[in-house]
């Protein structure tokens, strides 16, 4: 009995001390962790400024790839704004479908604010002159696909008939040859033609005839062309993926179903591209339907917020990659 009491007493006394020591360690660790985080931020901000001030020849070359994703792909505008505001140097760019549209217009010098307005207010008549009753009747009864020629003219009018070679950042986009299934890369010649071919949705638009090829949306062969910026010479690649959410949003019309097929194929293709890239920004726009044009402002907002959340990690990875250029 006495022994039991003594043991109980000792047990409680020890437990009390163990608890106190644990609490002390826990408090110590948390305040230490906070201080460490602050110290990291100070150094990161300092080196980042040095890094972005380096001349192009004295830092790693950075390539940015924008995925396909139809209306979800409007989120790329938000991502590009965050990268641009943070001063991330961009040396090469590539894109597919909506990624190609945003990349081309950004690269052609359209300010991001104007680009937002342009994408938010794009009219169906700017995409196809067949988007009218006559065109729809032809589509339904004569099985004649819509022409996307109007879209090429629209892009041309916005970029001032530029060629790929005229762009300040070397740029390439992807299209697919429906005859052979081959991936066709546009990195020279008229910019608007490549952009049109890259977003030319099969089953909706008639294929673009170009040099014996019949070109359709590049999303079916390369949804997120990371390899293109690598081939151009990028030492560090950033892939931007407008993430779909298949179970969250169900297609509600023909266009939605056609886009869903592309997205499903894209999800398989992007697995490789994600591994290939040095850094991936996932825009969490899954709740936005690929065919919902009214949601582009929200997609842009989500793109910006997703990129901003990833920005500290991106800066750290870039700094580690280029530290030898800052501290010699």
């Amino acid at each position: 009995m006495w022994l039991e009491k003594t043991l109980n007493k000792m047990f409680f006394r020890f437990t009390k001390y163990i608890l106190l020591v644990s609490l002390f360690c826990l408090l110590g660790q948390s305040s230490f962790a906070l201080q460490q985080k602050e110290e990291d931020v100070i150094l990161r901000d300092f080196i980042w400024q040095k890094f972005i001030d380096l001349p192009k020849s004295k830092r790693p070359k950075i390539g940015v790839t924008l995925s396909a994703g139809a209306m979800r792909g409007a989120s790329h505008i938000g991502v590009m704004e965050v990268l641009s505001e943070a001063g991330v140097p961009i040396d090469y760019m590539s894109g597919t479908s909506m990624g190609c549209i945003v990349g081309a217009l950004y690269n052609a010098g359209i300010p991001l604010n104007d680009l937002q307005n342009l994408i938010n207010n794009i009219k169906t008549s700017s995409i196809s002159r067949d988007f009218n009753i006559g065109g729809i009747l032809k589509y339904l009864f004569a099985e004649k696909l819509f022409s996307s020629e109007q879209f090429q003219e629209f892009i041309d009018s916005k970029v001032g008939s530029k060629n790929y070679e005229d762009l300040p950042i070397p740029f390439a986009c992807v299209s697919a040859d429906i005859k052979t299934g081959e991936k066709v890369v546009f990195d020279s010649g008229p910019l608007a033609l490549g952009v049109r071919a890259s977003m030319n949705l099969p089953g909706i638009f008639e294929p673009v005839e170009y040099r014996q090829r019949l070109l359709v949306d590049g999303g079916i062969v390369d949804y997120m062309p990371v390899d293109l910026v690598e081939k151009m010479g990028a030492d560090f690649t950033i892939a931007v993926y407008a993430l779909p959410n298949f179970s969250g949003v169900m297609p509600s019309n023909v266009l939605g179903y056609v886009l869903r097929i592309g997205d499903l194929r894209g999800a398989v293709l992007t697995e490789d591209s994600e591994h290939q890239a040095d850094f991936v920004i996932l825009s969490r726009v899954g709740e936005i339907s690929s065919s919902d044009r009214s949601k582009t402002p929200l997609a842009i907002e989500i793109g910006a917020s997703s990129a901003y959340q990833e920005l500290p990690k991106l800066k750290e990875k870039l700094i580690i990659n280029g530290i030898k250029y800052v501290f010699k």
Partner: protein, 323 residues
């Protein structure tokens, strides 16, 4: 009894219940008004629990109360829940109120502010936008959007709404200058950032954060002397702020002409803070700039041995790997 008298009597009998109803209605109205007044007083005096009780009673007993009175009660109830930190109930209250009164500016704004406070910025943006859809020049709505977009990093929108707020508000709310300057600094519009940071300084000469921001802007603009003046003032105002001190030392260490000063000061700091990895890194930078490469590498190796994962350690390991 003449026919006329019978008619008058009939009219009197007819009006008694009507008068009674009117009287009861009047009493109820007075009672509701009184309850609102009591709830408001309780809220103003910081008696939030009491406010909640009164408001809940009111809503239970006065389901047919006019919308304007219900709005006041919902507003008080939501505010009282928010004041005691019961955000779940506050959100529920505002949302329930908005089901009845979807176009109420005050309720939309209160809900947006609460979402902002609970860091649900996308929802805050949704309700600030609703506020502006109802009242396009609502200043709190514009300010809320400026702040929310700043938090999610959509800087062009943040600047746009801050600018609209400032243009409507003129010179009245100069505290917003600092936030607008910060948004511009983050998006590397350094000249605008400087303009507004200096304006912010004029009205608040004792705020170390403003001087720190000005110093950072000058440093980015390659004006080291002005950067130093301002960071020194920030340190005088807040001598315990280690973030300001360490930033100042890092700048000095990276500059050959001041590296020696940084080295001495950081060694003093290390005596009190031996666990600081950044202090060791600053020592490395200063030694490197003073062409003492051997000692610099030795410092990095010491840093490498320190416990814990951090970005500073990753940088250290990469430099040593490259070396």
């Amino acid at each position: 009894m003449s026919l006329n008298n019978v008619f008058v009597l009939f009219l009197c009998l007819l009006f008694i219940p009507l008068q009674g109803t009117a009287f009861l209605g009047l009493t109820k109205r007075t009672d509701q008004k009184q309850k609102i007044s009591v709830a408001r007083n309780a809220y103003s005096n910081g008696n939030y629990e009491q406010t909640i009780e009164i408001c809940q009673d009111f809503l239970m007993q006065n389901q047919e109360a006019p919308m304007r009175r219900k709005r006041r009660i919902y507003s008080l109830l939501g505010n009282a829940y928010a004041a005691i930190g019961d955000y779940d109930h506050a959100l529920l209250t505002y949302n329930s109120a908005l089901e009845v009164l979807p176009n109420d500016v005050e309720l939309n704004l209160a809900l947006a502010n609460l979402y902002y406070k609970t860091e649900l910025y996308d929802k805050a943006i949704e309700f600030y936008n609703k506020t502006l859809n109802i009242d396009k020049n609502n200043q709190q709505g514009l300010l809320g959007l400026g702040r929310s977009y700043l938090k999610i990093g959509f800087l062009s929108k943040s600047k746009q709404y801050f600018k609209e707020y400032l243009s409507l508000n003129g010179e009245k709310d100069k505290n917003v200058y600092y936030e607008y300057a910060s948004a511009n600094f983050l998006s590397r519009n350094n000249n605008t950032a400087l303009d507004y940071a200096l304006k912010a300084k004029e009205i608040n000469e004792n705020n170390p954060d403003i001087y720190f921001l000005i110093a950072k802007i000058y440093n980015t603009l390659n004006a080291p002397q002005r950067a130093e003046e301002n960071i020194n003032t920030a340190l005088q105002l807040a001598p315990d702020r280690e973030d300001i001190f360490l930033t100042s030392m890092l700048w000095k260490a990276y500059d050959k002409t001041t590296a020696e000063i940084a080295l001495n000061k950081i060694k003093e700091y290390q005596i009190k803070n031996p666990e600081s990895k950044l202090a060791l890194f600053i020592e490395y930078v200063a030694l490197l700039k003073l062409n003492k490469e051997g000692q610099a590498i030795k410092t990095l190796r010491n840093l490498q041995q320190m416990k814990g994962e951090s970005f500073i350690k990753k940088v250290t390991e990469q430099i040593l790997k490259n070396d």
